[in-house]
Assembly symmetry: C2
Homo-oligomer: 160 residues x 2
């Protein structure tokens, strides 16, 4: 793989967002049109057209003029990674921090682009660790603390 190829494998937050929207639409509808992207992202058709040109030039999507949008293998792989990261982050916000659905979704959309690979992986392990079986006692304790402002009684003595 040449340096040149490598260089095109990083995308801006905005381009990541477009890619993510494409995979969401593809999974939902099977087929992806610019119109749907523009509606889902609340941007104009012109912006979508422009973004698709960029993603196409960089080798993430296939997009002939006036045609449907599809992934290249590279694009699909990246889109999947992005989506997974998004879902993991949403889980963290919702199931661990206990934020509501809407906010979890919305904040995940913003935060996801800021996570380094390492941090993303570590957080994924954290979520997995916490959610691997039934809700742990301490998390119930945290929920209680959020609701009431009080710490629920604990079986263990605390120093101080």
């Amino acid at each position: 793989m040449t340096d040149k190829t490598k260089k095109y494998d990083k995308l801006s937050s905005n381009m990541e967002d477009y890619l993510e929207t494409v995979i969401v639409l593809k999974q939902k509808d099977g087929v992806v049109r610019a119109k749907d992207i523009s509606e889902l992202m609340n941007v104009t058709k012109a912006s979508v057209s422009c973004a698709l040109k960029t993603l196409s030039r960089k080798g993430f999507v296939l997009h002939e003029k006036y045609g449907h949008v599809d992934f290249t293998p590279k694009g699909e792989e990246l889109a999947n990674k992005i989506k997974k990261r998004h879902d993991m982050l949403t889980k963290f916000l919702k199931n661990i921090l206990g934020l509501d659905n809407k906010l979890s979704e919305k904040d995940a959309c913003k935060i996801e682009h800021a996570l380094s690979t390492k941090t993303s992986k570590r957080l994924a392990k954290f979520v997995e660790f916490v959610q691997s079986s039934e809700t742990p006692e301490w998390l119930k304790g945290f929920n209680f603390y959020i609701k009431t402002g009080k710490r629920s009684e604990c079986k263990y003595k605390r120093k101080k």
Copy 2:
């Protein structure tokens, strides 16, 4: 307070970064010069000059030509909030996720701007809840899991 005043109280991520750098330098050196900002942020002096003009116009800093930089009360208040949020996030990454110092710092810098007020507050409660006394057993368990890939034995039976 007029609408007009209110409107100026939101800053872009970039401007938040400048403000944060100013408070860091002020706490470190007592006095803030454009040069130091430019070094700490790795941008040119020209960029700093431009940013200070913006922050000054919006009423967050006081900055006379060729002079030192200081906060307005409004600017100081916001800078403090930003710094607190940053420190809280760093704590989370470092002390709970167990990431190393450098990465925690670096990722906090990026993530902090993406947190909504509500999420930021909730995360702060989470950090406070977890760190209010000695390291809880479950967190030790997580650290063990990160290191070894194995879950340490647990006193409680798990359903499956």
